[in-house]
């Protein structure tokens, strides 16, 4: 359950960027750190990346995604990072309030001294590249197919064509082959590979899966389920080369045609987005244009290695913690001035300890009820009286004042809060 309404650092997303940010924020001294994750476990997309290749940069080890994530999950738990799972953030305000909801926690409002955006990215879809044809079942982004296969344990298809040579597509070519599916072809519209060469070698070459550059899908056939795709070669301007058309019977088309940083929440919060990367503009501390909102990982720009996302997450978490701690110090410098017995309100609402060296401080107040006899205006810290002043009467229509002078300041500085009472003498 959520315990606090105000957190030092709230991190949205628990992929490599979010987990690293949480760990770094804690290490930097942030006390209350919360990670909000929309899936049922921490780890983000790493959990469905059951292939190896993670950790080479940071641990000098070759780990599968879930194992890589587990190192950070364990560390986060040891450090006391809190988490809300199966919970989606609906809105982030520029004032760093978050609205989130889940079945378990209900609808919650959380205030954060600092926020790290670590929502990662989403996959480009069929519509974005406008592949003509029917709209049957069996057209999946590679990541969705990966989730079906590795998390749900169900096969998305048996005869597969993959469009795009992005890493997830290459990885899925091998993965589906392991599971007994036939990957007919991988097509790439560009004359070069989009993903890592090592993935091409280990996922396609080793399994004799053909890759065709400068080829794309021209049409999707099948009313209910994919029945075939028509492919074609393209020239430099991406026009089809006449006569190059070929129809490949298949039941599945996987798309690995690019990733886009996911910034719908960022935009709501007033974060400025770079139209080139699709992610927020950030400074070297990973702070966005909105003070106290930081961003790291694929939400900023798309990385090719999770290790690098982790490193970016560290930076953002550390910066967010610094920001939160500075804000907290500022907050604790302020002593609240409360309306006590028969007092309607007091202005100022707080006294900044750092200003106690200055001139005297006048408290202005109004009473709730009239008292038609001599009264005493008293300021106390809950136990000890700090200052007092007499008046002939107290009437709601007439403002009262009390001035705190230099001789009171030592007591004021020790107080957690001040309360003003107006009582008959």
């Amino acid at each position: 359950m959520i315990k606090k309404k105000i957190y030092d650092v709230v991190i949205i997303g628990s992929g490599p960027g979010g987990l690293a940010a949480a760990v770094a924020a804690k290490k930097e001294g942030a006390e209350d750190v919360l990670v909000i994750e929309r899936d049922t476990e921490l780890g983000g997309i790493l959990l469905q990346c059951i292939h190896n290749g993670f950790g080479l940069e940071i641990f000098n080890e070759d780990l599968p995604g879930p194992s890589y994530a587990q190192r950070y999950i364990d560390e986060a738990h040891e450090l006391g990072v809190e988490s809300m799972l199966d919970t989606i953030v609906l809105e982030v305000t520029p004032g760093r309030k978050l609205f989130a909801s889940s079945t378990k926690h209900g609808f919650v409002e959380i205030d954060a001294r600092a926020i790290v955006l670590a929502m990662g990215c989403r996959e480009r879809t069929r519509a974005m590249i406008q592949i003509p044809g029917m709209r049957p079942a069996g057209v999946y982004t590679a990541g969705t197919a990966q989730r079906f296969t590795n998390i749900e344990g169900k096969m998305p298809g048996e005869r597969v064509v993959i469009l795009g040579s992005g890493d997830i597509g290459l990885i899925m070519a091998r993965r589906l082959t392991f599971e007994g599916a036939k990957v007919e072809r991988v097509l790439e519209i560009l004359p070069y590979l989009s993903g890592l060469t090592r993935n091409y070698v280990q996922c396609l070459q080793d399994f004799d899966i053909p890759l065709q550059f400068e080829h794309t899908v021209k049409f999707i056939h099948g009313k209910d389920r994919v029945e075939a795709v028509e492919i074609a070669q393209v020239d430099k301007n991406w026009n089809y080369v006449k006569g190059s058309e070929e129809t490949i019977p298949c039941d599945t088309l996987l798309l690995s045609v690019g990733l886009i940083p996911e910034n719908e929440l960022s935009r709501q919060a007033g974060v400025r987005i770079d139209p080139i990367t699709g992610g927020p503009y950030v400074d070297e501390s990973r702070e966005t244009n909105v003070p106290g909102i930081f961003a790291a990982g694929n939400v900023v720009h798309v990385y090719d290695l999770a290790d690098w996302v982790t490193l970016a997450g560290y930076d953002a978490g550390k910066s967010a913690a610094k920001f939160a701690m500075a804000l907290k110090a500022k907050e604790s410098a302020h002593i609240p001035v409360k309306a006590g017995n028969n007092v309607h309100h007091v202005v100022p609402h707080t006294i900044n300890k750092q200003n106690l060296t200055n001139d005297e401080i006048e408290l202005q107040l109004r009473v709730v009820r009239p008292i038609e006899e001599r009264v005493m205006i008293e300021v106390h810290d809950g136990e000890n009286r700090i200052a007092r002043k007499a008046a002939r009467y107290a009437r709601p229509g007439e403002m009262l004042t009390l001035v705190l002078k230099e001789r009171h300041f030592a007591d004021v500085e020790k107080a957690d809060s001040l309360t003003v009472d107006v009582n008959p003498r």
């Binding site: 079945t103 609808f107 406008q130 029917m134 749900e152 389920r225």
Partner: protein, 494 residues
Amino acid sequence: MQEKYDYIVIGAGVVGCIIARTLSRYEGKVLLIDKEADICMGTTAANTAIVHAGYDPLPNTLKARMNVEGNPLWDTLAGELNFPFERRGDFVVAVGEDELPALETLMGYAKKNGVPGCQILSGPEVRRREKNITPDVSGALWASTGGICDPFAVTVAAAENAVMNGVVLKLNTEFQDFIMEGDRIIGIKTNQGDFISRWVINSAGLFSDFVMHQAGVRPEFKISPRKGEYFVFDRADVQIDNVLFPVPSDKGKGVLVTTTLHGNTILGPNANIIDDKEDTSTTEAGMNEIWAEANKLVPSLTKKYVIATFAGLRPMGNGPCKTPGVDYNQDYIIEIPEEVKGFVNLGGIESPGLTSAPAIAQEVVDLLKDAGEEFKVKKDYEPIRPARPRFREMSQKDRKLLVDMDPRYGRVICRCENVTEGEIIAEIHAPIPAITYDAIKRRTWLGTGRCQGGFDTPRVVDILARELGVSPLEITKRGKGSEFLTRPTKKVEK
């Protein structure tokens, strides 16, 4: 024992569903059938979602009368059935001086058809009202009674209200032939068996020619599927909130730049006659055609923000207009033919069919009355179909109240459109259960956003399987044959 009905309605598109709902007001047993796994799978599923003012159809045609009679019925319909509907008004935009006379023609139609609230605007005035419009705009016809709706929501609400009022709905039920007794239709044969009825109403849309031919009516009538393709934009990036028509051509009302009630700008449709009534594919040529046409109205569009493309088929007929002296061969057919008894025949209900649907339903009742049918209003008729909560449209405060009441509304399944598990479960167990992915999508608008279902699909498959008590392998996109998954992965040896 064969099931016996007073009325069988063939086809659960918007026309069939509103007819069924209208009939459900009266005593009598009504059966509504559709060959697909859900209602609203044909022409109603893919169109421009516009409630037309009525300045477009040729005066003195049945099409014109249905349009103009249908348009004002929408406010009551929306109020009773609780679906979103907005009279946003629409513009027919003339580009260049050459197109200005066309506006006068339409204004003349508007007057003859009896359309209120039309006005011709100057070019600068149009630019003032829609800043994205081409600087070459020379004027526009403004029709204040034009509206926008969500055709799925309308059809689902009408069908649901019909079912609430006793209509029997049978899906996956395909009409094959009539059962005749002399010159009287006494029932129909379907792939799910025979059904007996006093009346059969043909609202089979693209397949209405087949249905009437089986009854021996209008052998010369032919439906030509006219394909219309569309682009949909991300509402975060493209916001054109007006309904912009070009001036019409012989191919119809032309490619619009318009908006949906969900806030997405859409472009389309083109209008290409094809042969195959099942071919709802988008084509490269078609998409290029729309793009070029739409850019004439709004030159600033960019393909970068396209999030979906789709195509639909309109049932273009060849029915001659019955009004003497009007030479028009694409009119609606709404009739009780003389050659067979017990048959209400509809055909060629293309655009503005959605707008006309409530008027067509009333016309069918009137024809049946003329044929001697008595219509007694049911004592327990309930015209109100309650709306279900839509999390995405709520304020944060209302969301909190909803989640407090039922925590399942707290779990967001579609991240782009903010559709919750509570909404999905409610649709699965609604009076017309949504049991396919597309059925849930059409009712909740899930999967229609920028990720196009990439995030929600595995989760929806899971929820459907759990709620229906079946394996995820049985869950389909749009009915049998469209299963998402093929088999379990290999078992891991421990």
